[in-house]
Symmetry: C2
Subunit: 285 residues, 2 copies
């Protein structure tokens, strides 16, 4: 059994040009939860003026119709965000920082050590289960390839977190490098982008190497701010297709998930990167 | 060392709506060969009126500037096609048939046994090295999933061929099924489509299971006639990115290959499915 977390409503929509209303994002969350997905990243508690795609996190959270067996996560970047999440009924706190100095400075106005300390402070006090994602774990758009020893050291500083996830934020990893880092760091999960078409092979080897948690986004939304013509996260329905085809249980109703991708395509008004929803999930045409 | 055969000029362009002139197709072959690819499928010797995309195979062959170390293959479907290929300087004969009765009847006007006999007759008399591809080896658009025992039996009837390749023609295979069939049949290579985003994971496990030959098409062209909204073959440059990133030698200059994809995008006037040429091949942005 693999736990798939759909990050489409958060990491996906945050990196798409369209801004969907909180009600529509909550509907997306509810539709995803109804497919049997065990976890959905529903919102990000950031400043509305800085990230309009994520504005109204409280509205999104309030419009969620909680389902038995589904965990709803929210991303927080600082104590203020954590306080906001705590006032909602979201179940899980997600935090993140990057493995490189430059990425943290450019994206979070903090150096690497300060970013780690910020996250440590949140997970230390968190009253809800926490997941910490180390982004740029295989490569950074500013510093290039990342030394696995650095990622291992960073992960060792996250004792307070319930889960550590390694993210291939810009989609540069290849299977052997994924296997090596997963075997070294032993994270709970991986967050993979399909920017260079390696995302699904990387998911396959990460599972072989022992992870039990995979992030993915419905329709493969998410893009890549560092490569404007590139696609985004591994598509959830394509991941489910691969895993279920291999006999790995996900608990997800693939046909229902395909319908969510079709619904989202209509909302965004354009073809999404996910391929199963376009090609059809069944073997025979 | 893996041998990649770029089938873009044949399987790729044959399944795209545009019809490129023989001179342009020959230029594509020459550009691909210049990247270090060890093999290119250059043409198909079919009736010009039935497959206009492949019209003028002799013209394509005549305009090839042969390079040391590069093999140029041509597809033939019958004795007449074989005679035509023999009159050119192409190095290798490719033949194909499908693993199911219905696919052969619909696509080749012959039942399965007759299709196998046709191929046996060609490879038995061939004066040039031959490759036989069993298409629909994992699934058929008309008959659904294909029994591995049938594929194994078909492969055992191809003693005369120098190489057997198993093709996931409609892109339905998942990694475990690829591993099982490759371990059972022991083909020289696999021909994978990325229709449902499993193509690269499948390539990864096929190599682990022992194949040494991978088909791919530059830019991922090729589409899927049974799923009009779907993409085609695994993109050659994306495959090279994954393999070289893993330390597997391909002999291909990835930057040069990316430039061929860019050139082809201009010729076809639209974005191609390949992702590395859009995202950039280097780790840092």
């Amino acid at each position: 059994m693999v736990t798939i977390c759909d990050v489409g409503p958060r990491d996906g929509l945050q990196n798409e040009p369209e801004v969907l209303e909180p009600a529509t994002r909550a509907e997306l969350v509810n539709r995803l939860a109804a497919t049997g997905l065990p976890r959905v990243e529903a919102a990000s508690f950031v400043r509305d003026d800085l990230v309009p795609q994520m504005a109204g996190a409280e509205e999104v959270a309030a419009a969620i119709e909680p389902r038995e067996g589904v965990e709803y996560a929210g991303l927080v970047l600082n104590e203020r965000g954590y306080e906001r999440l705590l006032a909602t009924r979201l179940d899980r706190v997600s935090c993140t920082f990057a493995a490189t100095e430059t990425f943290n400075r450019r994206n979070g106005n903090a150096g690497l050590d300060e970013a780690v300390e910020r996250v440590q402070a949140i997970v230390a006090r968190s009253e809800r289960p926490s997941t910490v994602t180390i982004s740029c774990a295989w490569g950074c758009p500013f510093e290039g390839a990342v030394d696995p020893a650095i990622v291992a050291d960073l992960a060792s500083r996250l004792d307070g977190a319930d889960e550590v996830v390694l993210a291939d934020t810009i989609g540069v990893a290849t299977p052997r490098r994924v296997r090596e880092l997963v075997e070294r760091v032993r994270p709970a999960g991986v967050h993979l982008h399909n920017t260079r078409n390696t995302g699904f092979a990387n998911a396959y080897v990460a599972l072989e190497a022992g992870v039990t948690l995979l992030d993915a986004s419905v329709g493969g939304i998410g893009g890549c701010p560092f490569a404007p013509r590139a696609t985004g996260n591994v598509a959830t329905e394509d991941l489910v297709y691969m895993l279920e085809g291999d006999g790995v249980e996900t608990g997800v109703d693939l046909d229902a998930l395909v319908r969510v991708a079709e619904w989202l395509e209509e909302r965004l008004g354009r073809v999404l990167p996910g391929q199963v929803y376009r090609a059809g999930a069944s073997t025979a045409a």
